[in-house]
């Protein structure tokens, strides 16, 4: 496939916005996580443990997605840097630049 990368401030701006949204999402995640200490204020019953485990499980999933988002931002930055370096020299310098998914 043809390679396209627009080296512009737009990419840096996008990365910064993504980091900002990810931070905001992290705050929402933590509010969900912290909610089970609050739940104990109004509910203690046979389902308390199940409820807390469920919230915990949801939070862990959210946390993993946030880590993924941080990883995407890292890859965007790295890609931007690599393309910047490559554009200074020649596009052929991108040989050997590859992403291996850890999974």
């Amino acid at each position: 496939m043809s390679k396209t990368f627009m080296i512009s401030d737009e990419m840096e701006l996008a990365i910064n916005k993504l980091i900002s949204y990810n931070n905001s999402i992290d705050i929402c995640d933590k509010k969900i996580k912290n909610s089970y200490t609050f739940i104990n204020d109004f509910y203690k019953g046979s389902n308390s443990k199940l409820l807390c485990n469920t919230i915990d499980s949801l939070y862990n999933s959210m946390n993993k997605l946030s880590k993924n988002n941080n990883e995407y931002c890292r890859i965007f930055k790295k890609t931007l840097d690599n393309y910047k370096i490559a554009s200074k020299n020649s596009i052929s310098n991108l040989e050997g630049f590859s992403i291996n998914n850890g999974d």
């Binding site: 996008a14 109004f42 509910y43 019953g45 046979s46 199940l50 995407y72 790295k78 590859s98």
Partner: protein
Amino acid sequence: MLEIDLSKIDNYINELDKLIDDYENYLNNMYYIYNNIFDNIWKDNNSIKVQSNILDDNIRRKELVSKIKELRKVYKYMYDNYSRIGFSIKCNLDTRGNVLFKMNNIIESLNKIYHKYNDLGDIYYYEKSDMINKQKEELVDVIKKMSTLKSKINKKYDKLIDIENNINILISKIGFVKINEIDYNMR
């Protein structure tokens, strides 16, 4: 032990509504930026891999938001159903048998006293027959009230156990979302 204080739960549901709104807004904005990057800025073999993972994560995020909404339904169910019983409830559901056993003993004792009145035979010959009759009627009234109270308490226990069981079903339905953590090894 079951302890419910519903005075705080209504506020919490409102906070959760705001949290869900914020969450959805942040996610929409975030995926708009991702789309912009892959549509207009970055296209190569690597971008396809990253985009594919991001699209997959987006599906998982939406699943998570729907599960948070299901969690909200649990709190709403708690509020709607427990508020029909009371705004502050403290009850040890395990002691149900003991409480009902004691109430049965009281009713049984009252019935024994009532039968003693019956053993008196035709009370019209007694000097204070009117007073005895009145006491007997009052005793019948107390026995009826006690039986009604026992029945009401029994129904409350049934209701509380029913609500707890339904909450269990609602929470169990939420389940979990499996997320694969991305770890790019970029050269």
